[in-house]
């Protein structure tokens, strides 16, 4: 438990200290969202209809952008070997690093989602559900992303390959995340979609650390 907290604190501080990670992901998120009114036209009805999907895709891409460094910088500078030798199992290390990634990427993306909703004329009644869906869905992106990041950790410029590996597995999260927002905006209950997102989160939290740790062990040989 101590190891877990020490690693989370270190990764969060590193992400904030670089000024990079979090800030870049948020700016990318904002820029991607603002591209859509320019591309598809500024009609409020049109924007309201696509807003849920656009915000989710932008958040997914922003999370993806920061994933390739999740293990790679530690792998390159030798820190990963020492983390693997720490008293906690490698699965706990993976879980700690995924949590730190979510705290510095997914959580801010969810927090700024209402602003994106405002930009895209998303009905205010759906804002709460959008944030809730993102709070449930973005940790899934960090956890599944950790598997891809672990598999591609030894590959120089593995970011592109990482995207190809993990994006197909992001699809269920995207579908249920968008469905929840659309249901709320259309006056229906978002409950089943949110429950499915919660199920995805529990499944990913239970399985992803094992898969990612196994991939890291192979890469440490």
């Amino acid at each position: 438990m101590n190891t877990f907290a020490v690693i989370v604190a270190r990764d969060v501080r590193l992400a904030l200290r670089h000024g990079g990670g979090t800030m870049w992901a948020l700016l990318f998120y904002l820029l991607t969202v603002t591209l859509f009114p320019l591309a598809v036209g500024p009609e409020p009805e049109m924007l309201a209809r696509i807003s849920g999907g656009v915000i989710w895709v932008a958040a997914l891409l922003a999370a993806l952008l920061s994933l390739d460094r999740l293990f790679q910088s530690d792998f390159e500078d030798g820190s990963l070997e020492l983390l693997a030798l720490s008293p906690a199992p490698l699965e706990v290390v993976v879980l700690a690093k995924s949590l730190a990634h979510w705290l510095t990427t997914g959580l801010p993306l969810a927090a700024f989602a209402p602003l994106m909703g405002l930009l895209l004329n998303l009905h205010p009644s759906a804002w709460g559900v959008l944030v809730l869906a993102m709070l449930l869905g973005t940790p899934v992106l960090s956890l599944i992303g950790a598997i891809g990041a672990a598999l591609t950790v030894g590959i120089r410029r593995g970011g592109m390959l990482l995207s190809l590996v993990v994006v197909p597995f992001f699809v269920p999260t995207l579908i249920f995340g968008v469905s929840a927002v659309d249901a709320a905006a259309g006056g229906l209950t978002p409950r089943p979609h949110l429950l499915l997102l919660a199920a995805l989160l529990l499944g990913a939290a239970a399985l992803a650390p094992w898969a990612a740790a196994a991939a890291l062990r192979l890469n440490l040989e």
Partner: protein, 202 residues
């Protein structure tokens, strides 16, 4: 508390690096790995740390075969890379590894002093020279309690004074009953020590 390897064979990329290697390291003794580049010194260390499974043979603690988890639990590791984060200060870097190993962050100052870098404590690690980074990586050893230290070319980029300091630290570890396996190209006057030459038989 003796560490040993029995009939170890290492294959990397389909090539046999060494085969049937057997060695013993008693508590309080050092084993120096010597041999030309590519003779398997680093691979043997990676095996002993539990990263690389041996193609044949096994390691043992006090004669009991050790699993990869047993190996990981007992070693302190210094590899080629120095595991320092440029965005952290020298003290933050050292404190993280010491706390991760279960140590107290109050030990950080002593650890830095042991390699003579306590005056750099508040500098960002990104501005250190290669030798200073190496000293930062080595200083966490002094604060840990691992019985077996695995060091891969620990003297690389160190100046003469730092090599002397390192030797003193290693000797202290031996005197406390710790064991040591070091891959090295320079002579390390450690007592008692044995030398294992790799790559000589091929």
């Amino acid at each position: 508390m003796a560490f040993s390897g029995r009939n170890l064979t290492c294959t990397r990329g389909g090539r046999t690096v060494f085969r049937d290697l057997t060695f013993d390291v008693a508590a309080g003794a050092a084993l120096l790995l010597r041999g030309p580049n590519g003779s398997g010194k680093s691979s043997l260390l990676r095996m002993a740390a539990g990263f690389l499974p041996p193609a044949a043979g096994h390691f043992a603690w006090d004669g009991n075969p050790a699993t990869a988890d047993d190996l990981r639990a007992r070693v302190a590791w210094v590899g080629h890379a120095d595991a320092t984060k440029a965005a952290f200060t020298v003290a933050e870097n050292a404190a993280f590894w010491i706390r991760l190993g279960g140590g107290d962050s109050s030990a950080t100052g002593r650890a830095l002093a042991s390699m003579g870098i306590d005056h750099l404590a508040d500098l960002p690690a990104g501005v250190l020279s290669a030798g200073q980074r190496r000293r930062l990586n080595l200083c966490r050893l002094a604060a840990g309690a691992a019985p077996l230290w695995l060091l891969d070319e620990p003297t690389s980029s160190l100046d003469d004074a730092s090599v002397t300091g390192l030797i003193a630290m290693l000797q202290q570890h031996l005197d406390r009953g710790g064991a040591l396996v070091v891959a090295t190209h320079v002579d390390l006057p450690l007592r008692p020590s044995a030398t294992l030459s790799l790559g000589a038989s091929r």
